[in-house]
Amino acid sequence: MSQFGMQMPGGRQHKGAGPDVYTALMFLGVVAMGIAVAMLWIAGSKVAPEGNPLKIQDPNRIQLKQ
C-alpha cells in the first residue's frame, strides 16, 4: 500500500506511529461497542434463560430470570 503513496492522514508516519485519529476512533468505537455489548448483555440476560444472554430459549419452555 505504501508503494501507491495514498494521501490519507497519518500516512507519512511509518516509524514509531503514535495514536492518531484512527486510534481515537477505534477507541470511541470500542467504547461504543463496549457500551452496546453491555446493554445488549443486560437486555439479553433479561430474555435469556437463567440470565445467561448467550443461551437460547427452548421454544416449548420459555424461562425468564425472576
Binding site: 477505534m26 477507541f27 461497542m33 437486555a43 439479553g44 448467550l54
Partner: protein
Amino acid sequence: MHILTKVFVLIASVLSITMAALAISYSVNADRVTASYRDALAKADTAIADQAAQKAAHGQERAALEENLNGLRDELASRDADTRRLEAANSELRIALRQAEAGRESITSKIAQLGVTTETQARIIDEYKTELDRLRTAELSYRDEKIDLEKSLSDLESQVIVYEQVKRALQEQIEEMRIALNNPGGSHDANRANTPTEIAGPLIRGSIDEVRNDPSSGDTLVKVNLGTNDRLRENTRLYIHRGNSYLGELVIFNVDLNHAVGRVAYTAANQSIRAGDQVMSKLGS
C-alpha cells in the same frame, strides 16, 4: 498502526463478535419470548372465551338448577304441607282410635253387665213362671170354688124365690082371709070381691107375649110375661099402652110364676091389641 489501534481493533473485533453473538441470541430469545407471549395471549384469549362460554353455560346451568331448585323447594313445601296434613290426620286417627278403644271397653263392660243382667232376669223370669204357675193353680182352684159358690148361690136364690113366692101366696091368703073376716057376708061383698083391683105397691111393667080371641066368648085373650113372681094375681087390672098411646085394660084370670093370662076388658077407640104392646100395673109414674 499504533499498537493501541491494533489493540482497539482486536478488542473491537472481539466485541463485535460478542455483540453479534449477543444480538443473535437476543433476537432469537426475543423472537421466542414474543412468540411465547403471543401464544400466551392467544391462550389467555381462548381461556377467556372458554371462561365466558363456561360462564354462560354455567349461568344457564345455574338458572336451570335454580329453576329445578325452586321446583324442588315448591315440591318440598307441598310435601311438608302433605306431611303436616298427614300428621294431623294421623293424630286425629289416633284420637279416634283411642276413643274407639275406650268405646269398645265400655261396650265390653256393658256387655258383661248385660250378661249379668240377663242372667238375673232369666232367674227372675223363672221365678215369675213359678209364681205364675202357682197363681194359675190358685186361680183354677178359686174358679172352682167360685163355681161351687155360684151354684150354691143360685140354689139359694132359687130357694129365696120359692120362699118369696110362698110368702107372697101366704100374704095373699092372709089378705083374703082378712078381707073375709072383715066382711063376713052379703052379695055386696061378693060384688066387691069380683071387681078387678090394681096391684098395690111399686109399678109393675111387662109386655104382651100373645094375643088370641076366645071363640067361645069372643073375648080377646092376652098372655103377658108377668106372674106371681111380679106380685101379679087373679082379678087384677093391667093397663095396656103402646109408646104414649093408651090402648086399653085387661083383667088377669089365670096366673103362674112367670106368665099370666088376662081378658081384654076395654079397648080404646080405633085401637087394637097385639103382641109386643106394653102393660103396667097402674097409670102415671
